[in-house]
Structures are given as structure tokens and as C-alpha cells.
């Protein structure tokens, strides 16, 4: 394709990307560099049905004037990025100085909201992604061997978890694992512990969310692998059989190498998806035990007093996180591309 043709071909998508991705990103970065004006506080007498009280209130006229002069707020540079709610450099330095053991040091870091969310998000991403790939492959191999009559229904059932809206799926499970629910009560009975609660302990909440993540994403890997299995070269398989390869050896040396590009594809998609984990945290009301990066952005935006600047800073850090996470895969793709060009 000539360069000019190519340019006109992708122009609409470039324009959309500029309007809907680049511009908002710039606005988020600008917001993250500002904080709000100093509020002018006065003490007033406030009265209501329960009597009168001297209370602080905002002097709206004075504050309004400040805002009219500088609508963006005060320029704060990178200070929001380094405060306790985000990278918390001062707190980490302090923890490093005052703690002798690594355990205590990491305990204190884990207590900081951003690092707590980052730890969960990374753990979720790196545990769920490989499990989804392995489970998806197993289901695909299994379904591939099912007699043709049963194939349709089996595929339908295997795809169900992906069809259910994530929020609905997690809510249904949330009720089932309740201490009064079917799964919750059964577990209490099995482990003979009436105080056992999947929702109360952080470790169990993490496991629950990860099990849910694997359950809801495995069908995606399954569909992709199943499609890939239909294109496996039967000649190679027959040759392997003639050479006396066992079923496992056929899979290990013929099928898996054939599916390798799909593994890269699924890892890429799943890494991005899992790094943005959000709906299950809401559905399982797990914001306290297992906050994800997306969740803490949401929490900033949802209280009475909306913290745009803090949410913007967390968003920028999340985007950087995705970029770092994907860089090995992208680098590899780039190297392959260059290798071919030469």
C-alpha cells in the first residue's frame, strides 16, 4: 500500500484516537498537576431542628473569587503523585529508617493505599492470567475430543461464564459465599468452623476474586484455543502417531508449538484486562480487603467531595503501569518485525 493511501485509510481512526484518547489523557495529566484553591473558612452560627451551633463553613464569595481568577486551581507540580495517597515517597523513606526487618517494612508499605491496590492488582494479574491460559487450553482439548453430537451443547455451557454480565455473575457468587449462603454454610460445615467467612479474611477474599476471575475469563481462552485446534496440521499429528508419540507427546510437541502465537495473543489481552480488574471488586464488596487500582480511582470519584486531582494522578500511574506491563511483549513484537524487515 502506498503511504498516501495508507494515511487516508487510517485517518478516521487516527482522528478518533486523538479526540477520545489523546485529548482526555492530556486533560487528566493537567488535572493531576493541580490541587484546589485554599478554601476560605469562616465560623458561622448554624441552626436547625436540633438547636444552634457555632460551626465552620466555607466563605463562598471569597472562594468563588479565587476560582474565577484561576479555574484550574493551584499548580502543585508532582506533589500529588508523591503524597501518601499515591507513591508516598516520604512515608516509605520513614518506614525504611524506622524498621529493622523487611517484614515490618513491607507491612508498612502494604498499609499505604496505592501500594495495597498495586499489590492486589499485580497478584491478580499474574495469578489469573496463566491459570486462564492453562484452563482454557484444557477445556479446548477436552471439547475437541467430545463426540460431534455433544459438541454444540458442551461449547455453549463452556461459554456461559463469559456471557453472564460480570457484575451479575459476581453478585450471584457474592450471595452464595455469604456466611448464610449455600457455599458459605457448606464451607463452614466442611471445616467445622462457624466463624469462617470468605468475605471477612483478606486472604480468602483474594482467593475468591481470583477464582471468579479465572472462571469468568477461561471461556475466552477456550474459544481462541478451540479455533486454533481446528487448524492443527493433521499430517504432523499422524506422523507423530506413526513415530509412536503418546497423546501427551503429541500435545507437547505438535499442538502447543502450533498454538504459541495464540498464547501470546491471549496473554496480551488478559494482562490488560486483569490489570483493570474492577467489576468483581464492586460485586463482591471487596474494596476493603482487595482494592484494585481501578477501584481506588472509583472511590475518589464517588464520595461526597470528589477528588478529581487524586483520581487523575492514580489514573496516570495506572496507564504507566499498563505500559510497563506490556513493554516486554511489545518489545518482542517490535524485534520480530525488525528481524523480518532486515
Amino acid at each position: 500500500m502506498r503511504h498516501k493511501t495508507f494515511f487516508w485509510f487510517i485517518l478516521p481512526s487516527l482522528a478518533a484516537m486523538f479526540l477520545f484518547i489523546a485529548l482526555p489523557l492530556v486533560s487528566v495529566v493537567v488535572q493531576s498537576l493541580h490541587i484546589e484553591h485554599e478554601q476560605v473558612i469562616v465560623v458561622t452560627e448554624n441552626c436547625g431542628p436540633f438547636g444552634c451551633k457555632q460551626e465552620s463553613s466555607v466563605d463562598t464569595e471569597a472562594t468563588e473569587q479565587l476560582r474565577a481568577e484561576k479555574p484550574l486551581g493551584r499548580f502543585a507540580g508532582l506533589s500529588t503523585y508523591f503524597d501518601r495517597g499515591h507513591l508516598a515517597t516520604a512515608e516509605i523513606a520513614e518506614a525504611w529508617r524506622t524498621n529493622d526487618s523487611f517484614g515490618d517494612f513491607f507491612g508498612e508499605i502494604f498499609n499505604l493505599p496505592f501500594y495495597k491496590a498495586l499489590t492486589f492488582t499485580l497478584a491478580y494479574t499474574f495469578i489469573v492470567t496463566p491459570l486462564v491460559i492453562v484452563l482454557g487450553l484444557l477445556i479446548a482439548l477436552g471439547v475437541n475430543r467430545v463426540t460431534p453430537v455433544l459438541k454444540g451443547p458442551t461449547i455453549f455451557v463452556s461459554l456461559l461464564p463469559m456471557m453472564i454480565t460480570p457484575l451479575v455473575g459476581s453478585l450471584i457468587l457474592f450471595w452464595m459465599i455469604d456466611a448464610q449462603g449455600v457455599i458459605g454454610k457448606t464451607l463452614q460445615f466442611i471445616f467445622d468452623d462457624p466463624e469462617l467467612s470468605l468475605k471477612a479474611s483478606p486472604a480468602l477474599t483474594w482467593i475468591t476474586l481470583m477464582v471468579y476471575g479465572v472462571w469468568s475469563s477461561a471461556p475466552f481462552a477456550f474459544v481462541v484455543f478451540y479455533a486454533g485446534l481446528q487448524t492443527v496440521n493433521t499430517d504432523s499429528l499422524e506422523a507423530a502417531q506413526i513415530d509412536g508419540a503418546s497423546r501427551w507427546q503429541q500435545i507437547r510437541f505438535v499442538v502447543i508449538p502450533h498454538l504459541m502465537p495464540l498464547v501470546v495473543f491471549i496473554s496480551l489481552i488478559q494482562l490488560m484486562d486483569n490489570f483493570k480488574v474492577f467489576e468483581p471488586v464492586i460485586g463482591f464488596k471487596a474494596g476493603a480487603n482487595a482494592p484494585s487500582l481501578s477501584y481506588i480511582i472509583f472511590a475518589d470519584m464517588r464520595s461526597d467531595i470528589i477528588r478529581y486531582n487524586s483520581a487523575a494522578a492514580t489514573s496516570v500511574l495506572t496507564v504507566l503501569g499498563v505500559a510497563i506491563l506490556l513493554s516486554p511483549v511489545l518489545l518482542r513484537t517490535w524485534r520480530d518485525f525488525k528481524g523480518k524487515a532486515v
Partner: protein, 411 residues
């Protein structure tokens, strides 16, 4: 259905029927109401809608997430809504952003019959008109307490002892519950307990936090003792969950909103045994203090600043109609009304008892919302036993300070 109930419905129908032709004296206007969703507010809004005519439109958006959209919706000019149904917590951001208008001239013109009690004034200017009161208080099961041989508790120390006695007697494994879900609910429980212990959230005359002290630790320890007598899922309990547990007979003592009283005492969703033995009593005192460890709340309406004067006046007239004695009489059971003509019902007993104990109203301070959010997010680790009380309170103060600096309340 009882005859009494039937006749009430009949009365409402007749009232609605005539009200549709009621002349509110508005020529033409657009009235749009935003607010929380529960039966009392629904009744008020329906009352206001009676003012609708061919030239007057009255619309409403009542939903639980109204707090998140009110600021953005009223910042627009002209504002999306002309009326916001609010309370002493939710009104603070509206005041801080200067989004609602003083009502003094409208009251002089159209609301002279409103009682002084209903006026919410800030610095001498009336900014909202209250129509109902709410507070958290104790719900107790008479039969279970008798079975365990204990009295109705009046202090939190007694609540803990009573719940422990019920547990020890093998009647219930988790006799107590309160709205302890992480987030706003948990923050509110600490606010109650801290005020009950006589605490002040901020250093006098400043926005500096003042909770990491003996009072804060005492409040947290009481909360922890209570959650140990709760179902292990307590960090996910909101009002709906506690009400459902109560109605299924799984609880003996609960600290719950007064506005839930009607739903619990009606003949739906529960057994006769639970309903007939439910007692609504005052919120208990704590730590030797003499005021109940709870907060008083009012619900009322305010009028948007960024609407035309004509729409604002029409909105005020319609809302005054919505909280008229007729509406209150027809919906007497729905709330603890602050309006003349209200007859207290059994469902209101707990709120009245709590209010008469000089319970403090929820503080209407601009930075209280940030403190509340920090409390809701940072206390769960202590309650789960993985952190000390001092550490939890230090975390709250640090989280609050970070947020307050960003919002310009602290330097």
C-alpha cells in the same frame, strides 16, 4: 388487609384525586426534584406533583446515588434540578460550592406557617427547610432478652454484656449487628461512637484532625467488642442487610436507622414472632457519657441557585405543598415528621427517645465529609485484628490530611 389500612388508601386516593386539580397559584414553571429514595421522600414529591398543570411541569429523579450527582447537576447554569431533597450531611458540599439560594424572602411570602423548628439556617440565612428527622437507635428482641434473663440495655457496655449473655446461653451465635459495611456506613458508626465518648473531630478553630487520642482508641475498642458479637461478614452489612437479618429472626440487638422502623414493624417480610417482640429504644450511651452514641439527622429541601427566580419561587411553593399537613397526615407512618399535625407512631419511638437524650446532630462542617471518607476506608484492618487502634487512627489522620491538603482545607 385491615379496614383501617383500606380507609387510609381510600383517603390517599381521594386526596390525590382532588389534589390533581389543586390550585397552587403557579402560572407556569418547570419544577425538577432530585433526592434520595425512600417512602417519606416519595410521599413529599408526590405531594409536590399535585401542583402540576398544563403549564406547570413537575418532574423528579429520586435515587440512592443522588449525592454523587447533586453537585454536578446544580453547578450547571441553568441547573438540571430546581429542588434538591437533602440532609445535614449532603447539604455541606452544596453550601461549600454555593449552589443553593437563601430562602428567607420565599418563606416570608409563601411559607409563614412553617415552624421555626424546620428552618435550617447558616449564618442567619435560611438555606433549607427540614421536614423529617432520623437517627440510628437500638432495635431489641424482647423475647430473646427474657429468655437469656437480661434487661434492655441503655449503655454500650450493657449491650456488649447482654449480647455476650445471649451468645453464652447458646441462643444465637451472632446476636448483634449494626450498619458496619466498609465505607460510609462504617465511618458513620465511628462518628456515633466518637461523639458518644465526647470526642471533637477537629482541633478547635481549624481543620486539623483530632481523633488519634484516648477518646478515639476507646471508641474503636467499643466498636471492636461489638463486631466480635456480629456475624463475621459484618464488613459488608448495610441497612438493607441488617434489616433482612432482623426480619429473618437472626438478631437480638441491632443499631439501625429509625427510618427502617416502619419496614420492620409492618406485616411484610418477617414472622409475627419477630415483629411482635421488636422494641425500638433509645441509642445507648457509652463510656460513662450522658448523651446517646448516635447522631441526629434531618431531611429537608433546598432550592437551586442557578435557576430563574420564577422557577425557584414555583419550586418552593410546590415543595411547601409537598410537606403540607395533609400529605403528612396521609403518610403519618412513613417518617418522624417535623411538620404540624404529625402523630407519633410506635415506629418513631426509637428516634424520639434518642433525640430527647440530647444526642448531637451530625456536624455540618465543610471538611467533615473528607474525615468520614477516611474513617470508612481505614478502620477495617483494626476491626479484623491485623492492626492496632493507634495505627488505624494514625492512618485515618494521614489519609484525611492528604485529602484536605488537596482540597485546600489544610496547608
Amino acid at each position: 388487609m385491615s379496614i383501617q389500612k383500606l380507609s387510609t388508601i381510600g383517603a390517599v386516593a381521594v386526596f390525590m384525586g382532588t389534589a390533581a386539580y389543586a390550585d397552587c397559584g403557579i402560572e407556569s414553571a418547570n419544577i425538577n426534584i432530585v433526592g434520595n429514595e425512600f417512602s417519606a421522600i416519595q410521599a413529599v414529591v408526590d405531594g409536590a406533583k399535585a401542583c402540576a398543570t398544563d403549564t406547570v411541569t413537575v418532574e423528579s429523579n429520586l435515587n440512592k446515588d443522588y449525592r454523587e450527582l447533586q453537585v454536578a447537576a446544580l453547578t450547571a447554569n441553568p441547573a438540571q434540578y430546581s429542588v434538591v431533597v437533602t440532609n445535614n450531611g449532603a447539604i455541606v458540599p452544596l453550601l461549600g460550592e454555593d449552589l443553593i439560594r437563601p430562602l428567607d424572602d420565599l418563606i416570608a411570602k409563601h411559607g409563614q406557617h412553617l415552624s421555626k423548628n424546620q428552618m435550617i439556617s447558616v449564618d442567619g440565612k435560611v438555606m433549607a427547610v427540614a421536614f423529617m428527622a432520623n437517627a440510628q437507635h437500638l432495635f431489641v428482641r424482647k423475647d430473646i432478652l427474657e429468655q437469656a434473663g437480661v434487661e434492655v440495655p441503655t449503655t454500650y457496655e450493657e449491650v456488649i454484656a447482654v449480647a455476650q449473655a445471649i451468645k453464652d446461653a447458646g441462643i444465637m451465635a451472632h446476636p448483634f449487628a449494626t450498619t458496619s459495611a466498609t465505607g460510609w456506613n462504617l465511618g458513620e458508626e465511628f462518628v456515633n461512637m466518637f461523639l458518644g465518648h465526647g470526642g471533637e473531630f477537629f482541633k478547635p478553630g481549624s481543620a486539623e484532625p483530632n481523633i488519634n487520642n484516648e477518646t478515639g482508641v476507646a471508641a474503636l475498642n467499643t466498636l471492636k467488642a461489638l463486631t466480635e458479637l456480629s456475624n463475621p461478614d459484618f464488613l459488608t452489612f448495610d441497612s438493607n442487610a441488617v434489616q433482612a437479618n432482623w426480619e429473618s429472626g437472626d438478631l437480638a440487638i441491632a443499631h439501625l436507622w429509625g427510618s427502617r422502623g416502619t419496614g420492620i414493624l409492618d406485616d411484610e417480610g418477617s414472622s409475627d414472632e419477630v415483629v411482635s417482640n421488636t422494641m425500638l429504644v433509645s441509642s445507648p450511651t457509652v463510656g460513662g457519657g450522658d448523651v446517646p452514641a448516635s447522631t441526629l439527622w434531618w431531611d429537608g429541601f433546598a432550592i437551586a441557585k442557578n435557576v430563574s427566580d420564577a422557577d425557584a419561587e414555583a419550586s418552593f411553593i410546590a415543595m411547601v405543598k409537598g410537606i403540607s399537613p395533609d400529605v403528612v397526615k396521609a403518610n403519618n407512618d412513613a417518617a418522624v415528621w417535623l411538620v404540624d399535625g404529625y402523630e407519633p407512631t410506635p415506629a418513631a419511638a426509637g428516634v424520639f427517645a434518642t433525640a430527647s437524650g440530647n444526642t448531637q446532630p451530625y456536624p455540618m462542617i465543610p471538611f467533615m465529609g473528607l474525615m468520614h471518607t477516611a474513617l470508612g476506608a481505614e478502620l477495617n484492618e483494626f476491626l479484623q485484628g491485623s492492626e492496632s487502634a493507634e495505627q488505624a487512627l494514625a492512618d485515618v489522620e494521614a489519609a484525611y490530611t492528604t485529602a484536605a491538603k488537596e482540597k485546600g482545607f489544610l496547608n
